[in-house]
Symmetry: C2
Subunit: 352 residues, 2 copies
């Protein structure tokens, strides 16, 4: 098998200077043509374009960034792309950025809170114009405090911050997401309506996530409103690929729940799979609902009952917000997008 052809010499790229020379004008004129800043004679413009084309000129954005104030790049920091909720958001975000002429530099933290600082630091060293990020817990994040202090433009995706009392100043952080608490409350109210009384909240890495806590609060709201006893959440070990043992324990208790409300779709799908592996039927024996509304939930059968967030829209909106902030417009706190309930087939009326 013949080797790949050796790179034909890392071809030093042509610069604006050479274009100027070829076109018989100054570099300033070339720059003006490239940036369409007007004030160039038709003749000169023609010459420059021709020279650029014939030389295969490719403007060096690094040079431009160094000189200018902006890099036209956004830094994006997400926990993981394995979970489709983030991949969907990233897709929306990237498309929006691309159409605005912005590039995306991507980093993942793997949910490790300690990685958040180092990863974002790298992004800032690259002099991104702003950050779009999902942190583990926005209510206590040294990183966000630092960003605020330094005046770095950023927008949170998914994180719900509410207001932070800090030195007697009530502040809002720019964020895009849904009303997690209300959405969770509605879903649990739906389960109650289906006749369920013993409903368990299931979370992964519960304490670390502001969203999980908001959703748990919504669960409590609904249970309390229905006069039903609130249960402690079942926390499943974070990356557990098999949760049968934990489910076994849960269902062995007297008073075992008849419905499970999972704090995210990935968890819900894992739980459903493992319940079935244990010989239980969903929804006949146990109802299960999720939260996120990832596309793949629609491919299951029955379709996953869940709270649908507009994930791609969250990404898109984050870009819009960030652009506004960079433009110096005041940002009026969290952007709350609409959620919907998808009443799929994994939760059904309690029949026992």
């Amino acid at each position: 098998m013949p080797p790949h052809p050796r790179s034909p010499e890392p071809t030093r790229q042509t610069t604006i200077r050479e274009v100027a020379q070829t076109a018989g004008v100054s570099v300033a004129t070339v720059s003006r043509v490239l940036n369409a800043s007007g004030q160039v004679s038709a003749h000169a413009e023609q010459a420059v374009r021709q020279a650029a084309a014939s030389l295969g000129f490719r403007p060096n954005l690094v040079g431009r960034s160094l000189r200018g104030v902006r890099t036209r790049t956004f830094g994006v920091m997400l926990p993981t792309l394995i979970h489709p909720v983030f991949a969907e958001c990233l897709q929306g975000l990237e498309s929006a950025a691309q159409s605005q002429g912005y590039a995306i530099t991507l980093s993942t933290t793997g949910y490790r809170a300690d990685a958040e600082e180092s990863v974002s630091e790298r992004l800032l060293q690259q002099r991104v114009d702003g950050l779009i990020l999902t942190v583990a817990d926005a209510t206590r994040s040294r990183l966000l405090d630092k960003l605020d202090a330094e005046g770095v433009p950023y927008v949170l995706a998914f994180n719900q911050t509410g207001h932070t009392n800090k030195k007697s100043v009530t502040r809002f952080r720019p964020s895009v997401g849904v009303d997690n608490r209300k959405a969770a409350q509605q879903m649990v109210a739906h389960l109650v309506e289906l006749g369920h009384q013993r409903i368990e909240f299931v979370a992964g890495q519960f304490m670390q996530s502001d969203r999980s806590r908001q959703r748990y609060a919504g669960y409590q709201d609904a249970m309390t409103a229905a006069g039903l006893p609130t249960r402690d959440p079942l926390e499943l070990p974070f990356d557990s690929t098999d949760v049968r043992a934990e489910l076994q324990d849960l269902l062995a208790t007297r008073d075992a729940p008849t419905a499970l409300f999972c704090s995210n779709d990935q968890l819900a799908m894992t739980v459903i799979r493992d319940l079935r592996r244990m010989g239980l039927r969903v929804p006949e024996d146990l109802s299960v609902a999720g939260f996120d509304g990832v596309r793949v939930g629609e491919w299951m059968s029955p379709v996953l009952t869940t709270v649908v967030q507009p994930n791609a829209d969250i990404g898109r909106t984050a870009v819009e917000l960030l652009l506004q902030i960079i433009a110096g417009e005041v940002c009026m706190g969290p952007a709350t997008l609409h959620h919907t309930l998808r009443l799929g087939g994994t939760a059904q009326r309690r029949v026992s």
Copy 2:
């Protein structure tokens, strides 16, 4: 609701020069400390580190990139992140790059072949050190020809190129993926073993994808080897969210297939969902198999029968390969990673 605090003045970042001044040394010394290039007295190093810390110095990677030869950034171009196969690859890729000190600039093309050129051009303007990309069709890609001609380091992910005869020179393109043809052949052989004789190949956007074609070839191999008639592929309109009409037509024929082999998992899951919406049972009435091995397939029930590619590993390996190519090592053609068959529950023995 109080507005977000106005950015406290886009704080002009401190530069290496100010650090030098504060530390009482020259910029060269600061640079040397930062790059750990040795040759600095312990005393000077101490002073520099202290000054940098107290000033909150953040090295400007743009300056470094402009001066140096490398940006330590890889450009990544993928069709979409909605399909988990690419998201999983990107996750592996990003982690690997991060651990090697490389940043990732991400772009998606939305499967639009015309976007490939403009999007990659932007990446090259950013002077990425190399490209990792999945193109629609690697066998006829002006973009790849251009990259070859310019000597831009790149690695293809998923695309299977084989060799290209071009001006009597047989060339290989660096790529990472599985042996699509062989994998497809094995899966179809498995279906045959289960007693299926009328097996249909189902593809989305068939003509555009080199992978689909390879997989169809594998299908043909297996059918021919079994002495069974090869059928034309069923091409489903690209982004169809509902394929019931097409399935209806397919199944209405005499000689209707008893098994469907879908060219990717997303398609397989969509097909299964729609078959069920039509009142058909999978696998009892019809067997379905996919190709990709995305995680979510395991969350279905029954678990999706499919060809499992090591998606994250494909990303990881692409990074390794790219690093080698950049280092000037000869690249010995395509890297073929191992696939496995996941014999889930969506395909079963033909009982009729």
